[in-house]
Symmetry: C2
DNA sequence: GGCCTTCTTGACCATTTGGTAAAATCGACG
DNA sequence: CGTCGATTTTACCAAATGGTCAAGAAGGCC
């Protein structure tokens, strides 16, 4: 039986999950090219042929991880509510993104690795689904600005800035720790506060 | 003669430069583990043993690239002048960082790769030189805030935010292109403008 | 030109890598 | 408890990888 074709058995579900967790750890650290099947198998506590019984190739494991990643990652943006209070909506978005960076740093680094190497797998979805979603939400933000409810700033760059600043705490975790110390609560709590303050009010005294 | 010990010949200088340029391309895309000496040699238009004549190991090439990277990258921050006008200093810093992202994207991605994998090579310098420099400049910014010349925002997080937003245009170039198009002037010009506006004045209407 | 050093090459090597084949073991279900 | 598909293991393979070695080609300097 070709594994992927029928509904998975209990063992399949369990082992696929174990493998994906292990692969996330390895791929997010070493990138696709740097990761080895042996390393993933060891992290999964499983022999290499056994792992390859569940995912026939290294590529399959990697694609399986990327699949759905974008969706989860984009959730908070999609929740921006055009009928809500603009500054509050933005503040909520920032908070939720910071929580993602805190709770799923390896997913963030996996994505960063895929971008850095030129998104060979995700390129199509970037230009397709992602672009459509982002353009739609950029339009919502633009409408707020046109109504005079927010200062005018290119909404695409605004979205980039929120992505960049929040994901930074996951992707550059080692640097942030080196400069701020290892206390996780302090790092992420003060980050959310500082970012909200920057994005809403900026630096200039009024 | 052990190559590294005496002053380099003309040929050595030239070939080392060629190799470093090629290695930057490969390492910045594939990371340390994913890069191969063969790939670097091919990119350098040179046989592998010949390349290894100039840099005995893959590790040596990588370290050579990282060396000095931090210094160049940190320059604009160090130029923050405590005697200047605060908002203008910040705006200049943002512009210069955007220019670095535009002109040296591979260097940015090389650094990002090193951070993502936990900075095994740079860890010490992060906790040493980098931390000292950043703390010093954070103190300058803090002083401006204490004097009432800038709104109060944790200076470390402010610096992170400027790093993250500017480097994003290099590290996530493929994503930015997918969403904004390939016109480089437009991307970087509008980015500098939008970021300055965000950091100085934020989103909230006044 | 002669000579010494620097540079380049081709052949090679041990290890790692992604993946396969077939046999052995396990587990659910009648 | 026997059987049949699902799972795991052992042994294996060809290609890729980081690196070595000895010999040849090319500079530079008198």
């Amino acid at each position: 039986m070709a594994l992927a074709t029928k509904k998975p058995t209990r063992i399949q579900a369990k082992n696929r999950a174990i493998i994906e967790r292990a692969a996330l750890k390895i791929f997010s650290r070493d990138g696709f090219r740097g990761a080895t099947v042996d390393a993933i198998a060891e992290a999964a506590g499983m022999s290499k042929p056994n792992l390859l019984y569940y995912f026939p190739t290294k590529d399959d494991i990697y694609r399986s991880l990327l699949e759905g990643l974008l969706k989860d990652w984009l959730g908070p943006l999609l929740d921006l509510d055009s009928k809500g209070e603009p500054t509050e909506q933005i503040a909520t978005y920032i908070s939720r993104k910071i929580e993602l960076a805190r709770d799923f740093p390896m997913e963030s680094r996996l994505f960063a690795n895929e971008m850095i190497r030129g998104a060979p797998i995700l390129k199509d979805v970037l230009a397709g689904d992602l672009r459509a979603s982002v353009d739609a939400k950029a339009a919502v933000i633009q409408a707020w600005m046109d109504e005079g409810r927010l200062r005018k700033i290119d909404p695409h760059h605004l979205i980039f800035a929120i992505w960049a600043t929040t994901q930074h705490y996951a992707d550059f975790d080692v640097q942030v720790r080196a400069l701020l110390g290892d206390d996780s609560d302090a790092r992420f709590g003060s980050a959310a506060e500082a970012l909200t303050s920057i994005f809403l009010d900026g630096l200039r005294m009024r």
